[in-house]
């Protein structure tokens, strides 16, 4: 009997338990706000958001692998595509697109056009330099790092998130640059 193929992000999202996105959006906003009050430094908040995301990602990747049924990604391009199309879709309900590849194919942008984290969000001027969505880059980093440490996956790259941020002029766009440091080709 042939094994089941990979499932689309839409199909998985339709099959999981879903909740009111407002609760999620407002909870995240309240967390960021509280972190700003408690930690005061924007850089420290960015770091903590990334760490939180990382801790979430290392666990969330299990659910991703279990539900998406994706086969091993053969190269970094495929990894990025699968993260954008399936990963984001099955959790956040919105797909992302992958653009801006560099010549070597080791660096790209994942663009999330419609980001539930930033609904109703306006950043005041006092938050210059805050990467509001930094939790997302932590999640990606954590998830991919978990996948890359498994011995039976010789082609998995190591990842380094170079830049991420909420573009304040276009609050709906979330841009993540992902660069791979080495690919064992």
């Amino acid at each position: 009997m042939a094994p089941a193929g990979p499932r689309s992000g839409d199909a998985i999202f339709a099959s999981v338990e879903r909740v009111n996105a407002e609760l999620f959006t407002l909870t995240y906003g309240a967390i960021v706000r509280q972190l700003l009050t408690d930690l005061e430094e924007v850089d420290e908040v960015n770091k903590q958001l990334d760490q939180m995301g990382y801790n979430i990602g290392i666990r969330l990747v299990d659910e991703f692998l279990a539900k998406s049924n994706v086969s091993r990604c053969v190269d970094f391009k495929e990894t990025a595509e699968v993260s954008a199309k399936v990963g984001f879709k099955m959790f956040l309900g919105v797909g992302a697109s992958v653009t801006n590849w560099d010549a070597e194919g080791t660096c790209c942008s994942i663009v999330l056009e419609d980001n539930p984290l930033v609904d109703f969000v306006e950043l005041p001027d006092t938050c210059q330099g805050l990467y509001y969505c930094n939790v997302l880059s932590g999640v990606i980093r954590g998830a991919l790092e978990m996948v890359s440490v498994c011995p039976p996956m010789p082609l998995s790259p190591s990842l380094f998130i170079v830049f991420l941020g909420l573009l304040t002029s276009l609050p709906c766009l979330f841009d993540v640059y992902i660069c791979s440091l080495e690919l064992p080709f």
């Binding site: 009111n20 407002e22 609760l23 309240a30 967390i31 408690d38 760490q51 801790n55 099955m90 959790f91």
Partner: protein, 177 residues
């Protein structure tokens, strides 16, 4: 139904928030961690009740507001209503959810007593924030009880005790949904 995200998103975010505040930011100061977690919940409850009451006329009395929390508000958040509302007619209310979603999905290791009680500060904050926005200052605490398997298998009962200070001196308060 408005926009949705997967339940894993909110579950993992809450678990990580509690873990960060308890184990990283205020590692040896559980009271401070608890206050922060409750404050985050307060903020969320305040904003959510603002949104969910935008198109409604003002509540005629406190009991109507509390019923709103038990029915519409709880449904928006947890897709079900509060199962039982009791009062002592002197300003104290007990709200009971027989199958509180967030507890039902927590992993076994995070169900250790201290982690659990920290976690519950968040929904308490939500309720306190929501009621505060509706003009009812109150103190909220929560407890869980695990009923025998024959009644509610594999579920957790959340009991929220709410003391609405301004209702102490009032007369009759029937507290029935």
């Amino acid at each position: 139904m408005g926009r949705e995200v997967s339940e894993s998103c909110i579950d993992s975010l809450l678990t990580e928030m509690v873990s960060s505040y308890c184990n990283r930011f205020y590692a040896n100061k559980p009271e401070l961690a608890a206050r922060r977690i409750e404050a985050i919940g307060y903020q969320v409850g305040h904003q959510l009740s603002e949104r969910y009451t935008m198109e409604r006329p003002r509540f005629s009395d406190h009991l109507e507001a509390i019923k709103f929390i038990c029915k519409d508000f709880w449904s928006e958040l947890f897709k079900k209503q509060i199962d039982n509302l009791k009062t002592n007619h002197r300003g104290t209310f007990v709200l009971q959810d027989n199958r509180f979603r967030w507890l039902a999905r927590m992993s076994a290791e995070s169900k250790a007593a201290q982690a659990m009680s920290m976690y519950l500060y968040f929904p308490c904050g939500i309720i306190r924030g929501a009621l505060s926005n509706l003009g009812i200052p109150c103190a909220v605490s929560a407890d869980i009880s695990n009923l025998p398997a024959c009644e509610y298998p594999e579920s957790y009962v959340l009991c929220v005790v709410m003391h609405a200070c301004s209702l102490c001196s009032n007369g009759h308060c029937h507290g029935q949904l």
